[in-house]
Symmetry: C2
Subunit: 412 residues, 2 copies
């Protein structure tokens, strides 16, 4: 890869050759891909981008894949960025855009990482990819690998929701339900991956995954015509996504596509916010319980906190925690004002933005992007619990009139 110099440990600085099966540093730290920006500047221009297909691979010069790597088939990325004028007014910011990443092939931002995993597995000559996860990482891996003709072995704890297991099995994944905790599940997957040499799709140890995720940041900037917003708000679980987003923004700054960088708004659930707490207390992170219905960001022991914490600090970003009630209110807010249906973790970024606006912490002339990371159809159960009841009437106009009047529904 002419565009990649090496992979460097974020903890001890040790450097490694960027081989496809890269894992953590000997010191345990996670690695970060280091690019040759001087070279990339000579081969990538804004003009060139205009002629390319609209998916995450349009930024190939900024991605750690070999020039001849066969790219995976599903169309990942280039999710829509909607300007939300009514919502901007309601929240009290000058301009606001919603990036709906729930419209990826398996309905979450994680497709960006899984597509990268499939590309790197192909480079490694692997025919099997494995991971342990109950959520979006698992379904995106299963879908992207199936499309590419690769097998997947996916380890889930036995408490995994049946709907998610069904989706995995529809994609042909071999699903191993482990009787025990998530730690037990992870442990068995680790042993199996080592034993059979499967390619490891695990954001905790595979440094390529956040390179896939960073394409959400690259896209936002291109979709905004390279005009940098003041803030980008996003939900934070294990930290890999916000770290990827920041990496993408810094890449663009390094090659001269941006003249400044936005501030990140890192939003966690109040019931599970170890990364934000570490930033706020300026102290090492400590584990927390996982008390939130936003399951995709319920990560009490984040496996990638270092990059995330560094990203929030470097961007002089804001942190904010939101309750489950605030999360579900944000789901409705996005639905009613933008027609965007996000899963609870997906709308948590918007919930945090709303809270900061109400607290007066975002200037009225600010420009903001809020990323929705997953589709509401992933978790209909919580939407049902929070949406309230419809108006119930017999098929009788008089009764309908009474019902409308009782609810003071305006009719014109």
């Amino acid at each position: 890869m002419r565009n990649v110099k090496c992979a460097r440990c974020v903890k001890c600085g040790r450097e490694y050759e960027a081989v496809p099966r890269l894992t953590n540093c000997a010191c345990g730290g996670i690695l970060d891909l280091v690019y040759d920006y001087a070279y990339i500047k000579t081969v990538l221009t804004k003009e060139k981008l205009k002629e390319r297909p609209y998916d995450m691979w349009r930024y190939r010069e900024l991605l750690p894949v070999e020039p001849d790597t066969e790219l995976p088939p599903l169309r990942v990325g280039w999710s829509p960025l909607y300007e939300a004028e009514r919502l901007a007014k309601q929240l009290g910011v000058r301009r606001l855009w919603i990036k709906d990443d729930g419209l990826n092939p398996t309905a979450s931002l994680k497709d960006r990482a899984s597509a990268m995993a499939v590309a790197k597995a192909r480079e490694a000559g692997a025919e099997v990819i494995a991971c342990s996860s109950t959520g979006n990482a698992a379904s995106s891996l299963a879908g992207n690998a199936a499309a590419a003709g690769l097998k997947t072995y996916i380890f889930v704890p036995s408490r995994a929701p049946k709907g998610k297991v069904a989706q995995l099995m529809s994609f042909g994944a071999t699903v191993i339900s482990v009787q025990g905790s998530y730690e037990d599940t992870f442990e068995l997957s680790k042993q199996a991956i080592e034993r059979w040499g499967w390619y490891n799709r695990n954001a905790a140890i595979n440094p390529y995954l956040s390179e896939g995720k960073k394409t959400v940041g690259l896209e936002i900037m291109e979709q905004l015509g390279w005009q940098v917003p003041d803030y980008i708000a996003i939900s934070v679980g294990d930290g890999c996504t916000i770290a990827g987003l920041w990496k993408g923004l810094k890449d663009l700054y390094a090659i001269g596509f941006l003249d400044r960088l936005p501030k990140l708004i890192a939003v966690q659930a109040a019931g599970c916010c170890p990364i934000n707490r570490a930033v706020e207390e300026n102290a090492p992170w400590r584990p927390m319980e996982e008390n939130t219905l936003a399951d995709s960001i319920a990560v009490g022991v984040p496996r990638n906190p270092d990059k995330a914490i560094a990203a929030i600090r470097e961007s002089q970003g804001l942190t904010v925690e939101v309750t489950d009630k605030e999360i579900m209110a944000a789901q409705k807010l996005l639905g009613t004002s933008c027609g965007v249906f996000g899963e609870p973790a997906g709308v948590t970024g918007t919930a945090g933005l709303k809270k900061l606006c109400a607290q007066g912490k975002i200037p009225a002339d600010a420009t903001v992007v809020s990323v929705v990371t997953g589709n509401g159809l992933k978790d209909v159960a919580n939407a049902i619990r929070s949406c309230g009841e419809p108006i119930s009437v017999p098929s009788d106009m008089e009764r309908l009139l009474e019902a409308f009047a009782a609810r003071e529904i305006p009719l014109n």
Copy 2:
């Protein structure tokens, strides 16, 4: 609209001016928009298309909207078309493509019709749109209207699944749950629409909706570089979608973009196939019961059979009926071979194609497109029922080895 001549009744041939609030002909027949193809030829070229945004409105010269109509905000259309090489080989056709329309904003092809309804409602000066539906039409209308700042009143029978009602309410729709049958629901909605003058989004009487749906056909052809496939397979419920698809193909032929037309493959559920039965028996259609789990095409009394039956006949198309078991097998087949997760009605087209291939009715050198009309996340319950059980083990490598051996799972 310079490109539209009039709307013509498909039954009696009477012509109407194409005003935004167009409904059925006085004779009860559904109307069909008639275009001025000679004019359109002078303003639309294949070259021009290359410079346009990738959504359904790129075909504006072929769509019945005024030049100054503000288009609705959600990014509808330009869903991916994947070539499915492994599946083509498995089914025994030369080339096969899967059009995944479940990746539209509210996860079904119906977004194309609802976006059109929103555009026409704006032309009509309406601020409220209404429909009666329990499914994809309702959620797509609610989402597209919310994004455009329009209100929706949606009438559902009280048996409507809670998840679908929740999605509607998340989009801010006023949902009226009618205690009674679908007929009772439709009747109350009709009275309310007349009383309050709401814009009517109902494919049975609004002729603009299939003009939105036809964009799926326009896209398929552009994505194939205007090379016409031998067949296009699609599921059929009330008939509006297959009629729209055919209209789009004929439009392209009329303006000289295509040199021939494909044959349609109309696939219905064996338990509910009034349109196919009419074609097969060459007799008027008769109502049927709705015995299929593919709820989105469970239409025993289709409201738009005339256009659909004409389309299948005109294309010299094939009809085929599939059992629920065959539908669920197709869901798994698409998942495992293509990474595409479709709802039961969404994969019914592929189920029918598979059946025809097995029956030797599709030549081995045929080229085929199969349209997936809705996302599997819309109906996880059926996927759960059909997907089987995962491998359950404790966190113990020996037990995992035993489990793999017992299932003869190959490990490399």
